[in-house]
Symmetry: C2
Subunit: 465 residues, 2 copies
């Protein structure tokens, strides 16, 4: 192992200045490195480029001097695990090297895996979720080592390769490798962003998720649609089954589902009351006349963060090309995600859904599980939270917005709440990042600031009580 | 114009024998010609190869000696119109040179536009619907001219190029060219088949059709599905809107729709009582446990032929690839066809649908019309019907099954019922032809017999009272 020459570790503005100067000087190289990362497709759902990406990330961490290895779990892409530094505190950095599928391809202005810089933004699938935040943290550690000293704390990277397909095997990985990470004092979660009013955001929790594909079958083959008078149509079966799950007022109707949902805790309500939520600007940005149920204010926020969802993410049957084709399809499928809150778990959601469908005669509707995650919550009083708040305030010159939980999901439960490790999330995205959508992008300026912010966070968390 | 040498026109078995011998001798060439026709894609819905196909058909009819021309209608592919022969009777032959889209391509065993012969069957998109029947009739006329004499009646071909997209402009073509065809005594409709018990079938009518695309829109772009808690989902809007159109018992719920439906007329019931309908074999062939509503017997037949339909032919929204993608789609669409009976017309169906959706708050659901056709009915006592029955009986050695109407659709109303021309339909398909589906095919033996049957029909219709 290559041994880094010893440097004095000195706190204060001189080091901050030298840290930030290095980042500015290296910006072109840092951005080139990010583009190289984005050029490698790594789509977990399509098993595309996953091993190659794991190798690139491993190589990058080794160049940093971190003790890096791939840790396999049966049936899963390997987790890149790396350790570097020493000190009174241990920080787990959780990221993932996989990305969402790039479809629909025709809506991308440039190719999803050919990173392109336009008007101060870098466009590529995965650049915001979460290759940008992943690499910015590594480059911040490089900068620290080059300009300050050895790390003042131990950092442990856990970088998995199937986050975007529901981290199906991460709880098993944690079970098998618990001893590696269980003593950590805090976790920096995968990514974050500036909101629509340019305020930096910290997230303290995640909804759970349960993702299914519902399938129906009809005749042995597609038939002429004149036969639809007498031969059952799987597209109708699916429509009828789906329509029993949620009403036009967006109320989830699955028997027993809402019994597992509770009002937000008082500490969360307190944070929500301080949360600016730019409703008008969001509506304008999304080009929608109103939010669901025409909600606004605290009721809107509560629904967003503390109500579960039941979302058709995709549906397909029969002929979907140009013009008309009079065909009776022989199969139909819908992809549905359920965001889970409170004590709704993937297992519970599955059982409730199956029973609900069966009770209504839809036992012909097949449920294919595509993974799930428990909801998770961090205590707002944990030291790692305060370190993050201070770091963002120092970097961006304004108090960050603290979200008590996020509407998104991730495997925070097994890695953090399950091991008693408080987690915070912040990163290099912004409200226009088009996460999970065509033309995903980050702003170059946010990226540079994100590296600097990570320097502030390392120092503050190492020093925290 | 090339003038054919005069031959004696003699009726009877000698001519039949010489006709059939010629067909047998020319079978290889006839089949090669059919394959050439099928090699040319002509997908109206995708505007693919239409003009090329019109030219091929024109050229074939000119080689026959027919006075052939392309007659344009604004916005439509040209109609190939041809005339040949003279006599006391005039027969219109209606065919179309377009075919259905070939999708889903992955289910074809050989390429849809690379005709392939396997186990006595010819596979190609359009070979059954309706290039086979179209060409068999032309080749029958060639055979007649070569082996019998001049034609004993006048034949007028009307071969259009947008039947599979609803013959949107054929009524306009008939309006503009009414004088050409209005004196005809009968019409031979596009295609026909042997049923599952190998009985030749004659059809005397067609359901109407109204084909729409329903579209819903959400945000300005696809969003991360965590936002589905507050941002409306067009896939759900579409599901809810569709679910109001028909219930799980297959009852159409569109306000006022069923008021325009009546019981079948007594003459039709009489024919239906004689119709063998092989329910068990059909269920086995389609691999379904039961027909809709578990119907059987006369109730099943009545529903098949005299009830309207509302069929999801295709639906698409969001991510439909492998695995999971947590996306909130920004658009959704469904293709729906309505088969019309009695006094339901496309215009009426549109108005009822629009009003029904608006009344339930679905005025955001856009309706895009992809064409429609009126239902049509032929009098079972018309001479052209008896000529067809006699021809099929002579060819196949058994009484044909006469369907008072078909569950399928076509532009029979403007060309036939509207002009007072009775129409019959028979042709070269069979119950396994996979019309509108992958692996469309006909049996070679059926094709040869179909040419011979057309010879019988020409003679009998020329002689009819």
């Amino acid at each position: 192992m290559w041994v880094r020459p010893y440097r004095h570790f000195v706190r204060g503005d001189v080091q901050v200045e030298s840290f930030n100067t290095y980042v500015d000087e290296q910006t072109d190289r840092f951005l080139e490195e990010l583009q190289a990362l984005c050029r490698q497709p790594s789509v977990a759902a399509q098993d595309w480029g996953i091993d190659e990406m794991a190798d690139i990330v491993t190589e990058r961490l080794r160049r940093l001097g971190a003790d890096t290895r791939l840790i396999a779990t049966e049936g899963a892409p390997p987790v890149v695990f790396a350790e570097l530094g020493d000190g009174p505190k241990t920080l787990v950095i959780y990221n993932h090297y996989d990305v969402q599928p790039p479809e629909p391809l025709e809506l991308w202005e440039t190719e999803p895996f050919e990173p392109a810089i336009r008007e101060g933004k870098l466009y590529a699938r995965g650049v915001s979720d979460n290759k940008g935040s992943m690499l910015a943290r590594i480059q911040a550690v490089e900068t620290w080592l080059e300009t300050v000293s050895d790390l003042p704390l131990k950092i442990q990277w856990v970088i998995e390769g199937e986050e975007e397909t529901g981290s199906v095997h991460l709880d098993q990985w944690v079970d098998e490798n618990r001893a590696l990470v269980e003593d950590a004092d805090g976790c920096l979660w995968e990514f974050g962003y500036k909101d629509i009013a340019e305020r930096p955001v910290i997230n303290l929790g995640l909804k759970g998720i349960y993702y299914v594909e519902l399938r129906t079958r009809g005749a042995s083959r597609d038939l002429h649609s004149s036969l639809a008078s007498i031969v059952p149509n799987p597209a109708w079966r699916l429509t009828w089954a789906l329509s029993t799950l949620k009403d036009a007022d967006d109320r989830i109707l699955i028997d027993g589902y809402m019994d597992h949902v509770a009002d937000p805790p008082p500490a969360a309500v307190e944070l929500m009351e301080k949360m600016p939520f730019e409703e008008e600007r969001l509506k304008e940005d999304f080009d929608i006349p109103a939010f669901i149920r025409d909600l606004s204010g605290m009721e809107l926020l509560k629904k967003h963060l503390y109500e579960p969802t039941c979302t058709i993410c995709g549906v397909e049957s029969g002929y979907t090309g140009q013009g008309s084709k009079t065909v009776l399809p022989n199969a139909a499928m819908a992809k549905v995600d359920f965001r889970l809150v409170h004590d709704l778990t993937p297992e519970l959601a599955h059982d409730l859904l199956r029973r609900h469908l069966d009770r209504r005669g839809f036992d012909d509707v097949e449920i294919i599980d595509w993974g799930g995650e428990h909801p998770s919550q961090t205590d707002p009083d944990a030291p790692v939270v305060q370190a993050a708040i201070d770091a963002l305030e120092a970097t961006y010159g304004q108090e960050p917005v603290v979200w008590p939980t996020s509407a998104g999901s991730g495997p925070m439960y097994p890695l953090c709440e399950g091991l008693g490790i408080p987690a915070v999330s912040f990163g290099v995205g912004y409200s226009g990042s088009n996460v999970h959508a065509p033309n995903e992008n980050i702003r170059l300026q946010d990226y540079v600031e994100g590296i600097k912010c990570m320097g502030e966070f390392i120092r503050r968390f190492a020093d925290s009580g």
